[in-house]
Amino acid sequence: MSHLMIMSLHSLLVSTFFAFLTRDRARGRIRVFLFLFVGMMVGAMALAWVMYPYPLQGRQ
């Protein structure tokens, strides 16, 4: 499995969990799910983009 796939899977599971934990109705659950899932994916991508110029230790 690629790193991206594992991250997506983790985001999917966590988003589903909190959607059902915090909301009782389908519409609210879908909204929370999308908010969390998109937020985690976009946030991770943004963080990766910010860290891109910084090399891994020992790879220089």
Binding site: H10, T16, F20, L21, R23, D24, R27
Partner: protein, 176 residues
């Protein structure tokens, strides 16, 4: 003995069913089997989804060569990690035997039992070679923390802190 009261409030508030019962059995069940506490409280859909999500997270944690933590006085944060892992109940025991070879919650002290400590660390380090080891650890921690939240959620339902809305009512969306 369960008691139920229905409170109807004016305005946009819907009928709210407040059920109170002893939280011990549901919480213990929720800890032992992810989602079972909600099933006992007749929150069937949520219970089944919680069960599937937590079990899947745990399964992927093991499949990705994840290991659980044991309390280590030399690493104070390991206490919190062990608590998070232990949130999974019997599933954590299984992962613990798989990681350490026995049901271990505490690492041997390096000053008094150095040999046993090295044996355990050698066994754990064998999994470090897998590229997905860190992800597996994270999945196992996440599964444990999810289940701890489920236990707290069941507790809130039992003491009436988190009321259930009746199916007939359709109030504005709210966190319940």
């Amino acid at each position: 003995m369960a008691t139920t009261a229905t409170a109807s409030e004016a305005g946009r508030e819907a009928d709210v069913v407040v059920s109170t019962r002893s939280p011990w059995v549901p919480c213990l069940l929720a800890w032992a089997i992810p989602g079972a506490g909600h099933l006992l409280l007749r929150r069937t859909t949520a219970g089944l989804v919680f069960m599937a999500v937590v079990m899947t997270t745990f399964g992927f944690g093991l499949a990705l060569n994840g290991t659980v933590y044991a309390m280590d006085p030399e690493q104070p944060l390991s206490y919190l990690s062990t608590l998070a892992n232990a949130g999974l109940g019997p599933l954590d025991a299984w992962a613990r035997v798989r990681t350490f070879g026995d049901l271990r919650y505490r690492m041997p002290d390096s000053r008094t039992d150095r040999v046993a400590r090295e044996q355990i660390l050698t066994r754990v380090r064998q999994r470090y070679g897998a590229a997905t080891h860190s992800y597996g650890r994270t999945f196992l921690l996440t599964a444990g923390l999810m289940n701890l939240l489920l236990v707290l959620d069941v507790f809130d339902y039992c003491i009436g802190r988190k009321p259930r809305r009746t199916p007939q009512s359709q109030p504005a969306e709210s966190s319940s």
